[in-house]
């Protein structure tokens, strides 16, 4: 009973917050509703026993991606009148996308009616008692090792690309040399002078 209650709670909050994400006028509110949706989706995953994916969803999407969204949205000065100006122009494209989405949802619902997945007959069956993380680890580091490492390489290339694109050598800024700062002692900067009266100071 607790399971069912929790499922309906999480599912209802996901649907409502997703709807509010696209309808709310304030972009910051929209991002916050999106975060709530992520969070409850993670709750749904915990309910089906995929606790590792649920935690990753929270760590990666809520903890990192959404923070960056929030950063960008807070700093941008978004003018909603301007955003809505192209409504008629983009209407056909929007309609096509909407039709495609509805078709996908219908197909998904159709797949649901074909019955449950036979977990025992997967390509790479895993003992059901094994914890999530170990099961994923077994698959990733044996059967799918090359695909996994390939994905890692793609991400590495993307990361290097992002650094190359945004990096610029600034010549007008004064860099700090931290090791020099740390190595500096008081005798390098100050001296003790027994100054005779009336002769002025030599710097």
């Amino acid at each position: 009973m607790i399971h069912t209650l929790a499922f309906y709670l999480f599912a209802a909050v996901v649907v409502v917050s997703a709807a509010l994400t696209i309808t709310s006028r304030n972009p910051v509110h929209a991002v916050l509703w999106l975060i709530l949706a992520f969070f409850n989706a993670a709750g749904l995953m915990v309910l089906v026993g995929a606790e590792f994916i649920a935690m990753l969803l929270v760590i990666v999407y809520v903890g990192a991606v959404a923070v960056l969204f929030l950063f960008v949205v807070m700093m941008l000065d978004i003018d909603f009148a301007e955003l809505r100006a192209g409504f008629v122009r983009y209407l056909p494209l929007g309609l096509v996308l909407a039709v495609a989405l509805v078709a996908e949802i219908l197909i998904a619902v159709g797949a649901w009616s074909t019955g449950r997945i036979e977990l025992g007959r997967r390509i790479a069956p895993i003992d059901g008692a094994l914890p999530n993380i170990e099961a994923i680890g077994h698959l990733l580091y044996t059967r799918y090792l090359y695909v996994f490492e390939g994905a890692g390489l793609v991400l590495l290339v993307a990361m290097i690309g992002a650094i190359v694109l945004t990096h610029r050598n600034r010549t007008d800024s004064h860099r700090q040399n931290v090791s020099r700062q740390v190595a500096r002692r008081s005798k390098d900067a100050t001296r003790n002078v027994n100054q005779p009266v009336g002769q002025g100071v030599e710097l």
């Binding site: 607790i2 910051v28 606790e51 903890g63 914890p131």
Partner: protein, 351 residues
């Protein structure tokens, strides 16, 4: 707890689970609030002693009731909401900070078998919950609709995201050695870790640098001095709390100290043996594990106060440099070294 309510009280399983969980949550949260009040007093006393002052000494014997007097005072004050603030989010922000500081305690093991939720992704849950903590600050800064809180929120968010990267790698090193994400298993794996009689990953030369990185990162993660750039009063008034008053402010305050206590508990649990005594010697196990854990938590809290009283505040670029250019490469290097050692250790052993 569930079995107690099911067998002794005679409730059906669902209700027994519900009542048992609620009672366990209260058993953790209420003493925690009391501990936070006392730890604020301890912090002020330690700080005062290091500055050769007396600290709070008027309310109650030795000033022990000072925190409760402060609590009563803020409770009786008016909650002021700025007219241009975003009212809902403005009030939501301290609630988030406070709640997030509490929920992580669900997976902290206090003693053998004494943990609210013994999940096998415990450490990931800790990471997930601590990454939520940034929202309290960022929402507070934005909803206040004021410049200083907003700057402070941006600083806080960047700082917490940066140091979470290093913390993540440190946790990976610990998980590699323990072979589990479950916090109770991590503690039991530390039993007799060095030469069979010293308990704690921190005594391992490969993990000791990680323990130091984790201790410093946990100070940055909780916005404690010397990394309290979000509340740098010389630059940002009171940072994201500037517009807050009465209970809303108190919730931030309580959440901050609950977070500090949590980080001390994590330091103790992950590296210094949690509820285990420091040495694997039978008479030491006569002392209940929870006492050992509390002693370690209090020791780390003293270190936190000590640092706060003695180390001057970092500059913001120094803070970012420490996080990205020193801790990140260092923790990455040690993840490689730890995994390399563990692989070497099992050469010839069938998987």
């Amino acid at each position: 707890m569930t079995s107690f309510f099911q067998n002794t009280v005679g409730l059906p399983y669902d209700w027994a689970w519900f009542v048992g969980t609620v009672v366990s949550i209260l058993l953790i949260a209420l003493p925690l609030m009391l501990a936070v009040a006392m730890i604020i007093y301890a912090d002020r006393k330690i700080w005062a002693a290091m500055a050769l002052r007396r600290g709070p000494n008027v309310v109650g014997p030795f000033g022990l009731l000072q925190s409760f007097a402060d609590g009563l005072k803020v409770f009786l004050q008016e909650t002021i909401i700025p007219t241009s603030a975003n009212k809902g989010l403005f009030l939501l922000a301290p609630i988030i900070t406070f709640t997030v500081a509490l929920i992580v305690w669900a997976v902290v093991p206090f003693q053998e078998g004494m943990v609210l939720s013994n999940i096998n992704v415990g450490l990931l849950y800790v990471l997930a919950a601590s990454s939520l903590g940034v929202y309290g600050i960022i929402i507070a800064g934005w909803a206040s609709n004021s410049k200083y809180p907003f700057y402070s929120a941006l600083r806080g968010a960047a700082q917490m995201v940066s140091y979470e990267v290093a913390i993540g790698f440190v946790l990976i090193a610990v998980v590699l050695w323990a072979g589990s994400f479950n916090l109770s298993t991590i503690v039991t794996e530390q039993k007799g870790h060095i030469f069979g009689f010293i308990n704690g990953f921190g005594f391992n030369p490969l993990l000791f640098p990680m323990a130091v990185v984790f201790l410093i990162s946990s100070m940055a993660e909780t916005q404690r001095a010397p990394f309290d750039l979000t509340e740098a009063e010389s630059e940002l008034v009171a940072g994201y709390q500037t517009e807050y008053s009465s209970m809303a402010f108190a919730l931030f305050w309580l959440g901050e100290y609950a977070n500090v206590l949590l980080m001390c508990a994590l330091n103790a649990t992950l590296f210094w043996g949690g509820w285990l005594p420091p040495v694997d010697w039978a008479p030491l196990y006569m002392v209940p594990g929870i006492i050992w854990l509390f002693a370690k938590i209090l020791f780390f809290f003293f270190v936190f106060s000590w640092v706060r009283a003695t180390v001057p505040r970092y500059r913001y670029d120094q803070l970012m440099r420490l996080g990205w250019k020193i801790f990140l490469p260092l923790s990455l290097l040690f993840v490689f070294m730890v995994s390399g050692y563990l692989m070497l250790d099992r050469v010839g052993v069938p998987a």
